[in-house]
């Protein structure tokens, strides 16, 4: 599983950071920073999905490999 994050769509709602801090950080203005490069560790796949489901801007996409 990979995560695709669209910085332009992000409006800084912080939902991903709240729900999956292992996968997302935020900058000072609240925009998300994707912390994983490449495959999401198996134990965090559920959290990745949770973050994607909760993004109000649909800025996070899950790509199943």
């Amino acid at each position: 599983m990979k995560i695709k994050y669209d910085r332009d769509a992000c409006q800084g709602h912080n939902r991903c950071y709240m729900l999956a801090p292992e996968l997302f950080d935020t900058d000072d203005e609240g925009y998300a920073i994707l912390l994983v490069d490449g495959d999401v560790p198996a134990e965090l796949e559920e959290k990745a999905q949770l973050a994607a489901d909760n993004c109000p801007e649909f800025a996070i996409e899950i790509i199943e490999s």
Partner: protein
Amino acid sequence: MGVSDLEFNPFGFSHHDDPYATYKRLRDEAPLYWNDELQFWALSRFDDVLEGFRDTELLSSAGGIALENRRPIGESIGFDQMIEFDPPEHTVLRKLVSRVFTVRTVARMEDEIRSIFTHYLDRIVERGAAEVVSDLTSPFPMDVISAVLGVPPEDREHLRISSDKIMIREDGVMSVPPEAAEGMFGLLEYFMADLPKRKAGEGSGLINDLVGFEVDGRALTDEELLGFCVLFVIAGHETTTKMVANVLELLSRHPEQKAAVAADLSLVPGAIEEVLRFHNSTQYMHRTLTRDHEMHGRRMKAGDSVLLVIGAANHDEREFGPTAEEFDIFRRPERHLAFGYGAHFCLGAALARMEGKVAVEEIFRRIPDYEVDHDAKVRFHSSNVTGWRSLPITFPVREPVGG
């Protein structure tokens, strides 16, 4: 479609007592419901409401966000709130203030929020009885948002009383009663007198920041500044006041879950999340159609009113399964629509969650054995905000801790 006895009137006091039976019928029998008397459509299924929030091109906020305040798209009411703007104008204004309410900024406020709440809790613990709303849940979020805005302590009571009045509605009546207009006038009058002082350099806080901000090379207009002030006061106080009281009331009616929270405070965030889903302060948002549109086999016209019924969507079995209508703090809903969705997703969501967490934790730390006097509680009647006007509780007398 045949004649139906299904009626959804968001202004009916009897509807406020139990909206959920009506909501279920809306979802099952009339997913796109038309109220001919009040001239509005209502969407009630989770997927429809979510998509309604997302599609700001189809469903505009610029015609007002409450049914009773609707007006032709773009008509000015003297103050411009970003909540009643659409992208891209909305995006520009929101960017100015989004950093103030991020999860991180809010996390840094936790100690201050806790000391504010403890102050109010200390005033009641020796009494053995309290009225939750006026003693605790109403003054405390007003203090928090006032601290952010830079409203001096001596002015907060006036703003709080004005803001409370704004939401008041009469049974079954859509028009705004004089008391509510008076409340709005109270807020506007205060900030119209306050803003020139801020511009002259008096005071500090978010209002002063706003006065100094520029968008597209110009300062914010007076209408925009007033819009921000009014929005922050109302949104920062009203829904949180109701939400925290709703948590206490709902837990008292579910004694096993209340005992579980008392035994393990780490359950508090889950309990708050379930209250947001199960009985959200904000029951619906109003939108205006920008063009003709067809849904569920019915044709809607440009300019029509559409209600996105959050309270109904959050009970949808299609999203939350067969137990959707049950209150369960262990549910951990993966998503819900309490704070809306998309561009207008509640700016203060992180702050509201933090305020709720701190308040409920402190109550369960100090008076976990509180009991609600269910015969004496009084409902708050509004069109889209639900909660308690008065929620009396009793508990064994305790010592204040100071703070």
